[in-house]
């Protein structure tokens, strides 16, 4: 039984890392109805920029601030050269644009920082800690605490600040938001900048775990089942979805894996997501439209 709980807790903590990736998608989806395929590239770009700065001798927090500034510049550029020209176009056009953007960002990252693999040290060792007989990874705990802090900051932003409320207004009804004088361009820039911050934190945590390399942009693939389960439009859903995926894939690997030869961790979330898709197409927390006239 202790072993079961260790697997469960390990899975839940790993799930937090998936939630992080998913939150980046949810932010942009909510504000502009676009599935941002470039989120993974942004994770890679942020991590690579940060690591390269640290390796060239910039102190940790200065590197963090510089990378964040870069992500804000990226948000401005995306608004100016991608979103603005494509305003009023169909979601599929925008999606294709983010596909192209993903390649541009990855190409840019490679041109700027090269293609070699970098190690990333956050100063948190991946050693097990003991809690009442259960062993939990210290790094996983750190990652979960970081994610929780980020979510808290985001929810304060969305619920307590004017820019956050305006952002939710745009997500709810873009035309009405424009009718009360909200500037869409400004909102888009802010959302992409916040998604850039999320990408940076995701990139640091995942980079510390996997190394900073091009496969980092593939963490997107982990986010998809999370989004399908949690719904594309809910930050809470992304969190719960991540926990479900993390816990179930680890449990499945341990308890079902041996029966069918192992290696199921990679595809099990997709099976789970497909089942959810059949049962609840909007996801667990996807905002259903409020039907009332």
């Amino acid at each position: 039984m202790e072993f079961f709980f260790e697997v469960l807790i390990g899975g839940l903590l790993a799930g937090v890392m998936y939630s992080l990736v998913a939150i980046g998608f949810v932010l942009i989806y909510k504000a502009s109805g676009v599935f941002n395929f470039a989120q993974g590239a942004m994770v890679l770009f942020a991590a690579l920029t940060f690591v390269s700065l640290v390796e060239s001798g910039v102190p940790f927090w200065a590197a963090f601030a510089l990378t964040l500034a870069t992500m804000i510049l990226l948000a401005l550029a995306v608004e100016r050269w991608v979103l603005r020209p494509l305003v009023n176009r169909s979601p599929i056009t925008l999606f294709m644009a983010t596909l192209g953007l993903a390649y541009i960002i990855e190409g840019g990252a490679q041109a700027l920082w090269g293609a070699q693999v970098h190690g990333l040290e956050l100063g948190i060792d991946d050693v097990p800690l003991e809690f009442g007989g259960l062993f939990v990874s210290q790094f996983d705990l750190f990652a979960a605490a970081t994610a929780a802090t980020l979510v808290l900051v985001l929810s304060l932003l969305f619920n307590k600040t004017r820019i956050g409320l305006s952002l939710r207004a745009v997500a709810d009804d873009t035309l009405a938001a424009q009718a009360v004088g909200i500037r869409l361009r400004r909102i888009w820039t802010v959302v992409w900048a916040v998604a850039g911050l999320v990408a940076l934190i995701t990139g640091l945590l995942w980079g510390a775990r996997l190394g900073v390399q091009f496969s980092l942009s593939l963490v997107v693939l982990k986010a998809l089942p999370v989004l399908i389960i949690g719904g594309f439009s809910s930050v809470g859903g992304a969190i719960v979805g991540g926990l479900i995926v993390g816990a179930s894939e680890k449990l499945a690997e341990i308890y079902i894996g041996p029966l069918i030869g192992g290696g199921i961790e990679n595809w099990f979330p997709y099976v789970l997501a497909t089942l959810f898709l059949l049962a609840r197409p909007a996801g667990l927390f996807g905002e259903r439209t409020i039907e009332r006239v």
Partner: protein, 249 residues
């Protein structure tokens, strides 16, 4: 007239998707402190005219391809909606368009952000809206999407008023509402007009209620003005109802 004219629309043409001509050659004027009704059957071009004025046609792949719009003497044709809202010209959209997943109070607050008010100013503005719409104060914590149609219309109007407008473009406030609620809403519009001096250009299919509360009116058909005049004179002309205003009498 120009001294007291707040809005002057001259021969505007509105086209959607570069081909659909929705408004051709509409001219109208709203005097400072006036309530002007824009009447016409469904599809006559009322909403397109209002959205051309507020700059929101652009958001619907529409464009003002001819004519011009003067607001307080300045040419504002194709000026962006946020600039106009800051200058006191606000539209209340047809179908209310509340932010459904936000509370009634959040809806109202968002309407006030455009002028960058201090917290106290925003609070004072909110209390003023609650004074005109006491029902909204009771429902302040409810999600707007779960309030009644009448309450949503009040949220939409209140939200626009939070920007301290001089001119409100009000699109079909009566749509889908019970007669008593419609009466209540028009009473409030008249009171806002009388006590706050807000001018209104209101589009309506329900001509009788609109003519009761408006000073003057324009009648649209197929994107053109086919009649205009003082509200009481138009109300007395039975041919207006028969010819242009469809079923609603």
């Amino acid at each position: 007239m120009s001294a007291q004219t707040i809005l002057q629309v001259e021969e505007i043409e509105v086209v959607y998707d570069q081909v659909i001509l929705a408004v051709h050659g509409v001219s109208l004027a709203v005097g400072q402190g006036e309530i002007v009704a824009l009447l016409g059957a469904n599809g006559a071009g009322k909403s397109s005219t209002l959205k051309a004025i507020s700059g929101l046609v652009g958001a619907e792949r529409g464009d003002v391809v001819g004519g011009r719009i003067l607001y307080r003497g300045a040419d504002v044709t194709r000026v962006s909606p946020d600039t106009l809202v800051r200058d006191g010209l606000v539209q209340v959209l047809e179908g209310r368009h509340c932010f459904a997943h936000l509370s009634v109070e959040e809806n109202l607050l968002i309407g006030g952000f455009v002028n960058k008010p201090s917290r106290q100013q925003l609070k004072a503005e909110l209390e003023k809206i609650y004074h005109y719409f006491p029902r909204l104060k009771e429902r302040r914590k409810s999600l707007a999407g779960y309030t009644s149609g009448g309450e949503q219309q009040m949220v939409a109007i209140g939200r626009a008023l939070m920007a301290r407008p001089r001119l409100v473009l009000l699109d079909e406030p009566s749509m889908g509402l019970a007669p008593l609620i419609v009466e209540e809403i028009f009473e409030i519009v008249s009171r806002l007009n009388a006590t706050e001096g807000v001018s209104f250009l209101l589009a309506e299919q329900n001509a009788s209620i609109a003519l009761q509360h408006a000073h003057r009116a324009f009648v649209l058909e197929s994107g053109q003005v086919v009649a205009s005049g003082a509200a009481d004179e138009l109300a007395a002309r039975s041919d207006i109802h028969a010819h242009y205003l469809g079923a609603v009498a």
